[in-house]
Symmetry: C2
Subunit: 225 residues, 2 copies
C-alpha cells in the first residue's frame, strides 16, 4: 500500500548540513504493524513527516496505493491523504482554543462526515478521556493531550496510521491500553507505522525497523513464540 524508495532528506548547507535520512527504502503492505526505533536524532520523525506529507524529501519517491505522493502540490496532497493517512504527532499539535471534543471532531468535519459527537464520545472513552471532553489542552496533562491527538487520528477510520511516540508521555498501564487500541485497529486491516523508544511496545508490533544516522540498520520480523 505504501512504498518508500531510496528517500534522502538533507537539511541546511555547509557546516549546518544534516543528512537526516540517507537512502531509506521500505515497503508497507496492507495490515502491516511496523515499529520504528532508533537513537534520538536518527531520523524517525523526519521519516514519518515525509510519508505524511509534512516535509519534502530531497531525493527518492513515496508511493501510496500506486500514486506518487512526494511531489504533489498542497491541495492534491490533502485529497490523496484525506481519509487514508492519519498522523499522531510527537508534539500533538492540538488547537489550544478548542476542547478535546472539538479537536477530535475537526477531521470529521474536514472529511465531510459532519459533526458526529456520539462517535467522538465513544473514541474519547476508548482512550480513557470520557470525563475530559470539555477540557482544553491547557487543562489536560501531557499524557491526556497525547490521547486527544490519538483519538483525533483514529476518528476518521484511516487505512494508514503514522504515530510518532504515541505513548511517550504516559505511564506503562495507560500506554498498554493505547497499544491494545492500535492492535484492534490493525486487526481491522489498518496499517500502522509507529515510532517508539520502548522495546516493550516495539516487540508487540509485527516488525521492528531500526534507524541510525538516517539509515535503516536493521529490519526484524516477529516470529510467533
Amino acid at each position: 500500500m505504501l512504498e518508500i524508495n531510496n528517500v534522502t532528506k538533507i537539511y541546511g548547507e555547509g557546516s549546518a548540513r544534516v543528512v537526516a535520512l540517507d537512502r531509506v527504502s521500505l515497503k508497507v503492505e496492507d495490515g502491516d504493524f511496523i515499529a520504528i526505533m532508533g537513537p534520538s536524532g536518527s531520523g524517525k520523525s523526519t521519516f514519518l513527516n515525509i510519508i505524511g506529507g509534512l516535509d519534502r524529501l530531497t531525493s527518492g519517491e513515496v508511493i501510496l496505493d500506486g500514486h506518487r505522493i512526494d511531489n504533489l502540490g498542497e491541495n492534491d496532497l490533502v485529497d490523496i491523504r484525506r481519509g487514508k493517512i492519519a498522523y499522531v504527532f510527537q508534539q500533538y499539535h492540538l488547537l489550544p482554543s478548542l476542547t478535546a471534543m472539538e479537536n477530535v471532531l475537526l477531521p470529521l468535519i474536514f472529511c465531510g462526515d459532519g459533526g458526529d459527537e456520539q462517535k467522538v464520545e465513544t473514541i474519547l472513552s476508548r482512550v480513557g478521556l470520557g470525563k475530559r471532553a470539555e477540557h482544553k489542552p491547557s487543562q489536560l496533562s501531557g499524557g491526556e493531550q497525547q490521547r486527544v491527538a490519538i483519538a483525533r487520528a483514529l476518528v476518521s477510520g484511516p487505512s494508514l496510521i503514522l504515530a510518532d511516540e504515541p505513548t511517550g508521555n504516559m505511564d506503562q498501564k495507560t500506554g498498554n491500553e493505547i497499544l491494545e487500541l492500535f492492535k484492534e485497529l490493525n486487526q481491522e486491516g489498518r496499517s500502522i507505522l509507529m515510532v517508539t523508544h520502548s522495546a516493550d511496545i516495539a516487540r508487540q508490533a509485527k516488525q521492528i525497523i531500526t534507524l541510525q544516522d538516517g539509515r535503516i540498520i536493521s529490519k526484524a520480523v516477529q516470529q510467533s513464540v
Copy 2:
C-alpha cells in the same frame, strides 16, 4: 531544604471540578534524589508546577529554605527561586526564535552571570548537542529539544532541580546518559525531584514516590543492594 505541607490543588467547579492534588506532603532534604511516578493525570506535573511557582495551590504551604514561597507575589517569587530552583518542563518551553546556545544562555543573563558562551558549549556537549548549538527548536528532534531544556535548567547551577519527564522523548541510551548527568549533579549536593514513567530510571534515584488521583500512595527508600 524544601517542605510541601498538606498541599491541595483544585481546578474548575461543578461538573468540571478536578482535585488535581489532595493533601500532599513531602520533605526534601539537601542532596535528595526523588523519583515521582504515577498514572497519566495523577497530579505529577501539577505537583512540580506548584513547587516551581508556576501554579498557585488551593490550600497548604510550600517552604523553601525556611521561607514560604507559595503565597508570594510574582517578583518576590522570582528572587527567591532565582539561582535556587531550576525547572525542566514537560513541554520544554524553548523560545522558537532563539538557537540552542541562546536558549541555554538566557538564565545566565537573567541571573546576572553575563553571557558565558564557553560554559554553555560545555554543557551542550555534556547533553550530546555539541554540533547543534546553532539550531533553532524547529531544527531539532524531540529528544534534542528536551536536551536543550535540560541544559538550560542546569547551566545556572541550581540547588534544586525539578525535572518533568526529562528523558520521556529519548531512546534508552541517550536517556541513560542524561540520567548519569543528573546523578553527577546530585553527587555535587543538588536536590532533584524527577517525574518519570520509566521504572528503570526511577530505581536509580534514592527514593520513589508514587501519586494516584492526586494523593501520594507510596514512598520507598532505595536500599543498597
